[in-house]
Symmetry: C2
Subunit: 328 residues, 2 copies
Amino acid sequence: MKILIIGAAGMIGRKLTERLAKDAKLGHEAIEKLILADVIAPTAVRAPGIEIEAHELDIVSEDAVSSLIAARPDLVFHLAAIVSGEAELDFDKGYAINLDGTRYLFDAIRREGQEQPYCPRVVFSSSIAVFGAPFPDKIGDEFFSTPKTSYGTQKAIGELLLSDYSRRGFFDGVGIRLPTICIRPGKPNKAASGFFSNILREPLVGQEAVLPVEENVRHWHASPRSAVGFLLHAATMDTAPLGVRRNLNMPGLSATVGEQIEALRRVAGKKAAALIRKARDPMVADMVDGWARDFDAQRATSLGFVADASFDDIIKAHIEDELGGTLP
Amino acid sequence: MKILIIGAAGMIGRKLTERLAKDAKLGHEAIEKLILADVIAPTAVRAPGIEIEAHELDIVSEDAVSSLIAARPDLVFHLAAIVSGEAELDFDKGYAINLDGTRYLFDAIRREGQEQPYCPRVVFSSSIAVFGAPFPDKIGDEFFSTPKTSYGTQKAIGELLLSDYSRRGFFDGVGIRLPTICIRPGKPNKAASGFFSNILREPLVGQEAVLPVEENVRHWHASPRSAVGFLLHAATMDTAPLGVRRNLNMPGLSATVGEQIEALRRVAGKKAAALIRKARDPMVADMVDGWARDFDAQRATSLGFVADASFDDIIKAHIEDELGGTLP
């Protein structure tokens, strides 16, 4: 089978690419070709027996997107997006990439099918940013989308298009609303949610991290490994039970910052936990106050999506996947 | 004040225009100018003291929309849409008018405000078609949008854009999800929902009407008079309590077909009710089965929107507004 990953150079895109290259099959089907596309050149990946094609392109170019689809991939992962902060700062860019780019992709698939039958699986990475406070304690599967960011608005629109194009038979879409990814590998970034990862990742390698909120702050998490698992399950699941309701709240782990720190202490010891320095940042604390804390992701769970079992597991997965299996 | 009505030649657009022309004011403000726009030339309206401007234009033309906004109306009613059936048959046309046209309008307002401050009230007519079965018995204010038509998808996207553009301060938007309009004046049309009106309107003037579904079918209704009332209230209400949740389920009247017929019998007599001929149409019955039956429109009601009190009232309003106040 041929697989196209749009947004292949992002953190999740790279991990998904590596996993597919390693498995060399998806479900029961051998992978013949991986087409990697991103606005920055996707990094090469070793995959004996798989043809790899890498494209540096912008999905705001309708022609570029059409040329990717002309290869008629059996499966398309659409992970490309301008992130929340940037979409808020640059209104036009956010709508151009997150809305127009998504529509170009969906329409390129539709047009490809007008020539001769074509109906690939499309897996779309959406976000819990489609929800906006005030929330119930646990957000249910039928809670409405009232985003409080342009990014969340664009993701919610992508979801609606995904459902309609699937209903009309242009492709077979699944939208997955990812929890906040924790522990996000790499350097600390400027995302307001970054501290959820920083307070674990940095102490694990003996470095200090700053906690800008109170320990009772509750949030909704999934490890990068789980996120890749969600994408693979969405790519292979039976979509018949979805009907027109193609977008799913992914299961995750609801934990307070205090519970995260307890897990760090259990896995890496008191010294690691002592590297977290509290320095309340009222701006960050205010933003986090409007974020989803917990979900009841019954539907996705019943459809076979599996979340991390504990924060201890999330930390151990990070040690295995990013630190070579042992603490320094 | 200057008021722009886009979609002024439609049934609701005409009734809104007539009402504004008659009142000559909105809230406490005198109306100086009414700008009427539609893809078919809006009919003239008599309004002494009000300047009337009529434009025959297509909102798929970005320039045409911008030229309307260049007049900087204080209030914009966006009622233009390709209806459900046509948007389902002509995919491109539905998206072009209902999605792109709406976005051109919203962006024209945003760009107008970039030159010098401009933040009009925008009232957007959305639809209960943003919801798709299965439903709860009563659809609440926080039920999610999973439309089963391209029209419903396009309306749901318009709602998301309306909220985001309002949140960013580009305009002050209110989206209202209208119930099915009953009694729709004029000739029977081909809409699958047409029979809800036909079975009252035709017998009231001594003509036969066909009922294609069982009498226990329940649906959600509002009179044209109420719909105009909703638009006027949305145009003048305090929008501060809305927050980012700019789209409201309008209150309505939930009634079975049997209750509609009972009301007809009370208002117009047994002879009128006897003109309804039952001829079950399985295709119509199937479609209607997937439609919303009842709502708990608490939020809109608490914000001052008022529905029809009974089907007797709906029929009496039709007799007053369309039949000169008496039955033939």
